[in-house]
């Protein structure tokens, strides 16, 4: 919900934002450089009350005074001051800011006090980048003396120290850091992903605002930080984490998108994997930071930080593993028998680990939260409930999976080669080497069967219900017992599981018969036209190819591809992929046209649709037929063009036919379609039956 609302906020575009940030930074640097000298010379006049206080307190103690004594003296001093009501508020703010701030200032200030007398000036200067203000106030003289000569580096350090101390400058610095992060993200996106797709953009936006929302709740609701320094530290931590999270999300989205395509270049995959490994390395580095912080600060902080970090690590690793499996799978042509269970186990492991860590993280947040009854704990509870349900659902799915696996192991026998008989698995359409046989004698790959049975306990082919619970003796069918074909709903007769008998022979004969119908004179004129385009190819070769292809366009295509040679004009469709699908089918598109002409059409003795007023001497039937449409090219772009061409041809053919029907029948065109509800449908079904049976 926050995403929705925040979505509408107008955001400045990146160049403007960068320009503003840089300008601000320059201004603040200028401010720092000009101010700090004045500040040094006229320190007292610029001090606020609190700062004056601080300066007073932190004045170097007498060398012989111990740290304890000094603290007591200071406390007394504060107590004394605090008795004046007007000063109490200021004092309170100062104390909170300086003395109770847990892990940045207080320890340093304390130890500095202890060691002040012994510390060498050089070490003070070098270690003082962050804590410079403290030292600075303690003794301006010591600070300047500590620097051997005002080199550029020293000046830089000084300026930086000043800027970190000064709130206004600090904010511009933080803003600049964010600007750089955004620029980095943008450049990674440009170089790795190119233009983002719309769904990726929305995903990214959602994820981003969700992340911001939940981390806000975490920082202010759970940790309940009150000091600016802590807020800054947490923010920078979450910025780094969120940045990596978003990148992972983007990688995952992109991977899912790429896995939908069969023709992604290897380079794209390589780049994405590189990015993922970089994220992995960075999140490992973040984990190291967690450990360090855990050692310095509390264990709680460590647990909070580490949980987030490990989640990121797991997500990245998960995506990488999925990616690797996918790439391996695509490269592999044969079915990889053990793949299914391996992939499943890997997925299960990752998902469950992620959910468990998330669950623990949220429970920790809930318990550690300062106030149990607050808005934040309510939100965490809701989140917790969601995660818990997810986890339960996942585990339930796993137990179902185990039931299915057990069923397949125990109840489905290994199919013998006789059972398989060179068949393909009806689920994945791959050849079967090993398979499992169901009671109803249907065989499938074990993995394919497992994936289906997880979803629905029935035989995919005959829909016989299976009893997965284990007592198969009483395996009463759950769904329809037997052979109630799904198409009964529509009373259609086209789609059936009847064993297919060969209709190919018919079609082939039709095809052949029709091909000879192309008059030799027409062939000749077509060949001449083609030769005008390609003078270097001999007429005989063109004619031969035309005889094969039946269309000028296909021949032109062939010549362009270089598959038409002068002497031994090779048959066009001889690739092995055609061989296994029945080479005789190589031109079903043209044959689609023939088939049509063979049907009721012919009976009515309608004229050929091509007898239209067409001034150009075009070939009569083959032209609208799709040229080379039946080839299944290995190249994606070629496949695409062929499909487009076939589409256009089909439309064109239908249009001509329709016009022919209209002009032929005049009035009968209307009556045919209006009177045909009872007689027409069976005719249509007759027309379609052979085609329906071609499939398996």
């Amino acid at each position: 919900m926050p995403a929705l609302w925040l979505d509408r906020l107008p955001l400045p575009n990146l160049p403007a934002y960068t320009a503003i940030s840089v300008t601000l930074l320059l201004c603040s640097v200028y401010f720092a450089v000009t101010t700090q000298d004045r500040f040094e010379s006229d320190a007292v006049s610029r001090l606020t009350f609190a700062e004056a206080l601080q300066r007073r307190c932190l004045l170097p103690p007498p060398v012989n005074e111990s740290a304890h004594d000094q603290r007591t003296r200071l406390t007394d001093y504060f107590v004394l001051l605090a008795t004046y009501p007007t000063q109490r508020a200021l004092l309170h703010g100062f104390l909170r800011h300086k003395l109770r701030s847990d892990f940045l200032y207080w320890p340093t200030v304390a130890t500095d006090w202890g060691e002040y007398g012994e510390r060498a000036p050089e070490s003070t200067a070098s270690s003082s980048v962050f804590f410079a203000p403290t030292i600075y106030y303690r003794d301006p003289g010591a600070w300047t003396a500590a620097l051997p000569e005002p080199s550029i580096q020293a000046n830089l350090v000084k300026t930086l120290a000043f800027m970190i101390h000064e709130p206004l400058c600090l904010w511009t610095l933080i803003n600049m850091a964010y600007c750089l992060l955004v620029l980095l993200g943008k450049s990674i996106q440009q170089s790795m992903f190119g233009e983002l797709r719309v769904s990726e953009q929305t995903q990214l936006k959602d994820k981003f605002w969700n992340f911001v929302f939940y981390k806000f709740i975490f920082v202010f609701g759970v940790i309940n930080v009150q000091h600016m320094d802590e807020v800054v530290l947490w923010c920078s931590w979450f910025s780094a984490l969120g940045f990596l999270h978003l990148l992972t999300q983007l990688c995952r989205d992109r991977f899912e998108y790429l896995s939908l395509s069969a023709s992604t270049p290897r380079r794209t995959h390589g780049r994405l994997l590189c990015l993922l490994s970089a994220i992995l390395a960075l999140s490992l580095a973040l984990l190291v930071i967690c450990v360090y912080v855990g050692l310095v600060a509390s264990l709680n902080t460590f647990a909070f930080m580490a949980a987030e970090c490990v989640l990121l690590l797991i997500r990245t690793f998960h995506t990488m593993i999925r990616y690797a499996i996918h790439l391996y799978d695509v490269a592999q042509t044969a079915q990889w028998e053990r793949k299914g269970s391996l992939v499943y186990l890997a997925e299960l492991m990752f998902e469950v680990t992620e959910l468990v860590i998330d669950l623990l993280h949220h429970v920790h947040m809930l318990l550690w939260g300062n106030i149990i009854l607050s808005m934040a704990s309510l939100i965490i509870c809701m989140e917790l409930r969601h995660i818990f349900y997810q986890l339960r659902h996942r585990l339930a799915r796993h137990s179902h999976y185990r039931r299915v696996v057990r069923y397949i192991e125990l109840e489905c026998v290994q199919a013998t080669p006789a059972d398989i008989d060179g068949d393909q698995c009806a689920i994945c359409w791959d050849a079967m080497e090993t398979a499992r046989r169901l009671d109803c004698k249907h065989c499938f790959h074990a993995t394919c069967l497992r994936r289906w049975l997880e979803q629905d306990p029935s035989c995919p082919t005959c829909r016989k219900g299976l009893d997965l619970s284990g007592q198969t003796a009483s395996g009463q069918p759950r769904a329809q017992p037997h052979h109630r074909p799904h198409w009964q709903q529509h009373r259609g007769r086209f789609v059936s599981f009847l064993p297919s008998f060969s209709v190919e022979v018919n079609h082939t004969q039709l095809l052949r018969a029709n091909q000879q119908e192309v008059p030799a004179s027409q062939l000749d004129s077509m060949a001449r036209q083609v030769q005008q385009l390609f003078p270097h190819v001999s007429l005989s070769a063109i004619t031969e190819d035309l005889q094969q292809s039946g269309s000028m366009e296909a021949t032109v295509e062939n010549i362009l591809e270089g598959s038409v040679h002068d002497h031994p004009a090779p048959p066009m469709f001889t690739s092995d992929e055609l061989a296994d699908d029945g080479g005789s089918w190589s031109r079903p598109d043209g044959d689609g046209g023939d088939g049509r002409e063979e049907k009721p059409y012919r009976h009515h003795d309608r004229p050929e649709p091509a007898l239209e007023p067409e001034p150009v001497p075009e070939p009569q039937w083959p032209e609208p037929a799709a040229p080379g449409g039946s080839r299944f090219s290995k190249s994606a772009s070629e496949r695409h063009t062929l499909l487009q061409r076939r589409k256009a041809a089909m439309l064109e053919r239908a249009r001509r036919r329709y016009l022919a029907t209209q002009s032929d029948g005049g009035d009968s065109g209307g009556t045919v379609s209006t009177s045909s509800d009872d007689s027409g449908a069976p005719a249509a079904s007759e027309a379609l039956r052979p085609a329906a049976l071609v499939g398996r």
Binding site: C428, W487, V495, Y658, D677
Partner: protein, 168 residues
Amino acid sequence: MAGNALKRLMAEYKQLTLNPPEGILAGPINEENFFEWEALITGPEGTCFDGGVFTAKLTFPPDYPLNPPKMQFCCEMFHPNIYADGRVCISILHAPGDDPMGYETSAERWSPVQSVEKILLSVVSMLAEPNDESGANVDAAKMWRQDREQFQKIAQRLVRKSLGLPPP
């Protein structure tokens, strides 16, 4: 895993390209995304949709043969089993688990042995013989039952439109 689905879709595409059934054409809209296909369906002969070539879009789920694709006509359709927005309502396209209409047995629904070809052939048969019991488009179902003349007139208009011809 999208890998399995991809292989299977590729096989189906090949099959449909090499042995296209009569009056049907289907393939990915864009080779970049193999999970969105477009299909051209010729209206069955002798029915009121005779001669029209209707385009439809098929969207496959990532676990494709386990779950059915979604099918939606991209051109205007008026048919008892096609929703006004073009979605097709036939039992073969319903996942085995859910039963939106409440009358189908699971045997009528999707199973991984179905294929794009079988879906498209079912749709052709649906065009030929609407099932007015499952009214995805109630108006069309009513008209089909009561005013067949008017239905045919509308269908003829749609046929002409699908062919890109001006209305008569």
